[in-house]
């Protein structure tokens, strides 16, 4: 119900810059996820959107109008705090009713809506308890109900599912997504769970040290990460990043030389080669191109897949194989290969992706 713009927003605590000149543009009704390491300014950004912190500089706009000065209570923003922030002296029902008290909803309607929302998040049998008597996951759902009950224009979720068990988390994900669609509310979800971000969000914002590294669809971030940070942060197990030198159409890694395409002949300098573990595989016997001669040093069963570590001429590589039992023992020798299209080359100086440049075995 609201278009949200951030323009060059900075939050400076005096001692540290928590959010450093970020600009975002969220469409009405969009669902975006924010990913980033601890302390990178995710919560601070949400707090500025909610009106709890005032930005040090830059503009926040709702539907094009500058709202920097608008009080939190006038913004109609629903927020689930990382720490739940339930009112300890009120029962669960009173907690959920609290936002409606200020919207002048008649008491009976308010109570009906509160019970309805409580049923959605499966806490209807806890309504008379106090927050102190609830588990972490139950508190989280109360916080969610409290944020949703006021039918906000903007929904901010700061790790709202972190304390739930796997099944409950799955159902809550679906429930949040359904309610979000139904209300058409613009939503920002902070999470540390990449699966959660990729399955729920239309777009993902990847933050690092107070800055936005990349904004894009989950596929964008996976296929074409703009920086080495995004490449390393998105994807599990993490990408292999190998120091290399680009010289026209060859890529020098130690003594080994790989063929490079897409770079101009005059391009040269230090780069980083990114290879995702799931894109490396054993070369088929008798294939035209020679693979990388590899020796397995470790194997790690990961459920449906196995993660191997291997020594190769271009350094130690992780790669995945879709077998639940380790097939290769440490010491086993084999030849590895990957498709040139799957490889990523980053400028080592700027850490940015060199679009179109590929490496081939």
């Amino acid at each position: 119900m609201a278009r949200v713009d951030l323009q060059n927003v900075t939050k400076d605590w005096g001692t540290a810059v928590a959010v450093d000149d970020i600009s975002l543009d969220l469409k009405d009704g969009e669902f975006v996820a924010v990913l980033g390491p601890s302390g990178c300014g995710k919560s601070t950004t949400l707090f500025m959107l909610a009106g709890i912190y005032a930005p040090s500089s830059g503009d926040i706009r709702f539907d094009g109008a500058r709202v920097n000065d608008v009080e939190a209570r006038d913004r109609n923003v629903g927020i689930v705090f990382q720490s739940y922030a339930l009112y300890p002296n009120m029962t669960v029902l009173q907690n959920i009713l609290f936002p409606l008290r200020f919207k002048k909803v008649p008491r009976t309607d308010a109570e009906r809506e509160a019970r309805e929302i409580a049923r959605l998040v499966q806490i209807e049998n806890l309504l008379d308890r106090r927050p102190g008597q609830l588990s972490g996951g139950q508190q989280q759902r109360v916080a969610l109900a409290r944020a949703l009950v006021k039918k906000p224009n903007l929904l901010l979720l700061d790790e709202p599912l972190s304390n739930l068990d796997a099944t409950l988390r799955l159902s809550m994900r679906a429930e949040i997504r359904r309610i979000q669609r139904e209300l058409g509310v613009t939503t920002i979800l902070v999470t540390h769970d990449q699966i959660e971000a990729t399955t729920m969000a239309d777009r993902i914002i990847c933050m690092n040290a107070g800055r936005v590294e990349q904004i894009g669809t989950p596929t964008d971030l996976y296929r074409a990460p703009e920086t080495t940070f995004v490449a390393a942060f998105i994807g599990s197990p993490p990408i292999n990043l190998i120091d290399a030198r680009l010289a026209g159409d060859t890529l020098e890694i130690g003594d080994k030389r790989l063929r490079a395409t897409g770079a101009g002949a005059d391009h040269g300098g230090p780069v980083k080669l990114g290879l995702r573990p799931e894109h490396i595989r054993e070369a088929e016997a008798g294939s035209a191109t020679a693979g990388l001669a590899a020796t397995i040093t470790a194997s790690e069963p990961m459920g449906r897949e196995t993660l191997y570590t291997a020594d190769t001429p271009i350094g130690s590589l992780h790669f995945l194989e879709a077998t639940s039992m380790p097939r290769l023992a440490p010491g086993a020798k084999l030849s590895l290969t990957f498709d040139g299209d799957d490889s990523l080359v980053f400028d080592a100086a700027t850490t940015r992706l060199m679009h179109g440049v590929c490496a081939h075995v």
Partner: protein
């Protein structure tokens, strides 16, 4: 080696706890017992005990067939009792609690630095020596037009000068003690407000609550225990305090509370007449009130947390 361990335990207890026990015993426990004894004697100026008697209590109450319990209060004691009640009640409710709460709420609503500034101003009276504080009040309420209050009344408001000491002595001592009491309430409540988790304020603001609603729904519920703490301890403290009353009003009849009565009859400089047994009898009444309060406090304080066992068992 159990014997050496227990020896170490004993010597530890002696070193760490010994001094506190000796001091507290000698100067709190022993005096309470002494008071209990002396209250039933005829001890006076010479500090000797001639006989054991309940004469001191006869000065406070006299047998009467009409009254409850068969006793009725004598005039001077009745007066002291009611002055004490008025003094304690007014100071506590108006200043220590209400004004302390207002100061805590307003100073925490300002920026940290401004709030700290105003709190520092309010703590000035408490941090300055009591004799100076008493003198300040004497200068303020000086009945001539030199008195600060009268200067303000005459020059700023164009009113007639007033004589607080003569006309409104109770108002005077309530205010003098109240300014200090308010600052104590302010300190305790400020630290209680500070310890409310920040995210509760954030959540309330996002939920649409204004400053009034936040005060009512978030702050006040968190102050319930500190407020009862202030009530109990400040009641006791006011009950036994006579320092400022004496320094400002002297031995005036108009502000002769129970603690003042005991003090002026015994040890007050230049006027105390050494009626120790009489003073001890009044003190005994205060001790009984103190005991009752302590019992009440026990029920309300969190004994379990206090008594939680330490973890290292090694001595």
């Amino acid at each position: 080696m159990p014997s050496s361990a227990s020896a170490r335990q004993a010597s530890n207890a002696l070193i760490f706890l010994g001094p506190a026990i000796i001091l507290l015993f000698a100067l709190l426990v022993v005096p309470i017992v002494v008071d209990l004894v002396v209250a039933f004697t005829d001890m006076a100026q010479t500090v000797t005990i001639g006989e054991f008697t309940t004469r001191q209590f006869n000065k406070l109450v006299r047998p009467s067939d009409d009254a409850w319990f068969g006793f009725e209060l004598r005039g001077s004691f009745y007066r002291a009792l009611s002055l004490t009640a008025i003094y304690v009640f007014c100071t506590l409710t108006i200043f220590n609690i209400t004004f302390g709460l207002i100061l805590a709420l307003t100073t925490t609503a300002l920026s940290d630095r401004l709030g700290a500034f105003f709190r520092a101003v309010w703590l000035l009276p408490r941090m300055s020596p009591s004799v100076v504080y008493g003198l300040l009040w004497i200068w303020v309420v000086d009945p001539t037009e030199r008195g600060l209050l009268n200067q303000v009344l005459i020059n700023v408001f164009g009113l007639e000068p007033i004589n607080m000491m003569l006309d409104h002595p109770m108002v005077l001592i309530v205010m003098a003690n109240g300014f200090i009491g308010a600052s104590i309430g302010m300190l305790i409540l400020t630290s209680a407000i500070r310890s409310i988790p920040k995210h509760l304020f954030h959540a309330a603001r996002a939920d649409g609550a204004g400053p009034m609603a936040i005060t009512w729904h978030i702050v006040l519920p968190a102050l319930r225990w500190p407020l009862s703490y202030i009530t109990v301890f400040q009641t006791l403290s006011l009950l036994v305090s006579f320092e400022y009353i004496f320094l400002i009003m002297g031995a005036s009849r108009s502000t002769m509370t129970m603690a003042m009565l005991a003090y002026t009859k015994t040890l007050a400089p230049d006027i105390g007449s050494g009626q120790y047994a009489y003073g001890a009898a009044i003190t005994l009444i205060l001790i009984v009130i103190g005991m009752a309060t302590a019992m009440f406090m026990w029920r309300m304080s969190n004994m379990k947390a206090l008594l939680a066992k330490p973890k290292i068992e090694v001595q």
